[in-house]
Symmetry: C2
DNA sequence: ACAACTATAGAACAATGTTCTACATTAATG
DNA sequence: CATTAATGTAGAACATTGTTCTATAGTTGT
């Protein structure tokens, strides 16, 4: 085969990640193979081993990128803690719907032999802490008083994750998905009081 | 290799399913291979093709078994609709924790080339209907009046699924997982009113 | 007892992740 | 600018995956 022009070193990493993400978004985990990613990135398969730790390294990078992006998507700091929390809920869902691939890596698929490293787990924990912080602000205002901020945050995250997770799986039976998600947010707000 | 004594036809199906489930429970999707399942069932790999439609056939059988079992786990018909609904929530979680393998097939992993058939999807829908029925009973009693039974059911299912899903993934940060799940159930009850 | 099933072992195939090697291109150094 | 060191590329190679096919032998039903 003809030898293709080689890609500059500092561009291979981002190229591979973008290609891997595009494949995950479009084809799901099935299409996520070393050769497919390399071809899509116009790069040699070996690039995944030179620039990452193979497939798992790519997954780890995506996992971290995912939780970092999610943290930003649910972080608001307006005057109203309660409004911030609602925005966080909507931001959570929007992130999931717009980043199906990342969400798959983070929550919806166990990739072969992949286990997030300690560092990656800490990034995930930081994202959770951002939510706990927000819930804590609501509690300081006396909005939630039934439980600890950590537990309330776990309930909120669970509900949002469950909703978008079933939505992405195609098991959402609601007539109006946007409206039913708002019902979920209202239920949490009302129920945690 | 020595030819092993052959297994009676009518026992191969159940044997394969039990073996597949045991592997999923113990090793997760990684260990779920034709050869591993066959070996665990003391059966030839070909058995998965003679008795099921290959790996996908086994997954389909597990999917149906899973939703059938789940339907029974959340179905109660006592005098109190509200109490039945709480029991359904607890039953949902108990099912997930006790059947990690089945729950993985149903909700937590996209197996390669596997898409549930129409029949399988209908079994899943029936499970959902069991929940809708229960929610409808609560609404008839005036317990929930904010929304349709279908939408309220979707919210409840989402919350429960999200909680146990994160729990099974090891992303549950609650100090007392049982208590926090009860908080979730109470939040739903209180919030949908 | 005989005939029809059907479970078994094993070869074979393409596709997977991964490693290794030879080579060509880029970048750094004198 | 010329030479050297890095590093990206193509391709072979290996074990493992799902799957199909074949020949053989044990089981079942008549």
């Amino acid at each position: 085969m003809e030898r293709t022009a080689r890609t500059p070193s500092n561009q291979i990493g981002p190229d591979v990640l973008r290609a891997a993400l595009a494949i995950l978004d479009e084809e799901g985990p099935d299409g996520f193979t070393v050769r497919a990613i390399a071809q899509r990135a116009s790069v040699a398969p070996m690039a995944l081993y030179n620039h990452f730790d193979g497939v798992n390294g790519v997954l780890e990078a995506l996992w971290i990128e995912g939780f970092d992006t999610l943290r930003h998507a649910i972080t608001f700091a307006s005057a109203s803690a309660q409004e911030d929390l609602v925005k966080a809920g909507r931001g959570y869902r929007q992130f999931a719907l717009e980043n199906h691939g990342l969400y798959t890596v983070m929550f919806m698929h166990r990739f072969r032999n992949f286990e997030p490293s300690l560092e990656a787990s800490q990034v995930a924990a930081q994202t959770y802490e951002a939510l706990v912080l927000n819930v804590g602000r609501c509690q300081d205002l006396g909005l939630f008083d039934r439980s600890s901020a950590r537990d309330a945050a776990q309930v909120i995250w669970s509900a949002c994750h469950g909703y978008v997770s079933l939505e992405l799986l195609g098991i959402n039976f609601a007539a109006d998905r946007d409206a039913t998600f708002e019902l979920l947010l209202a239920t949490l707000q009302n129920g945690l009081r």
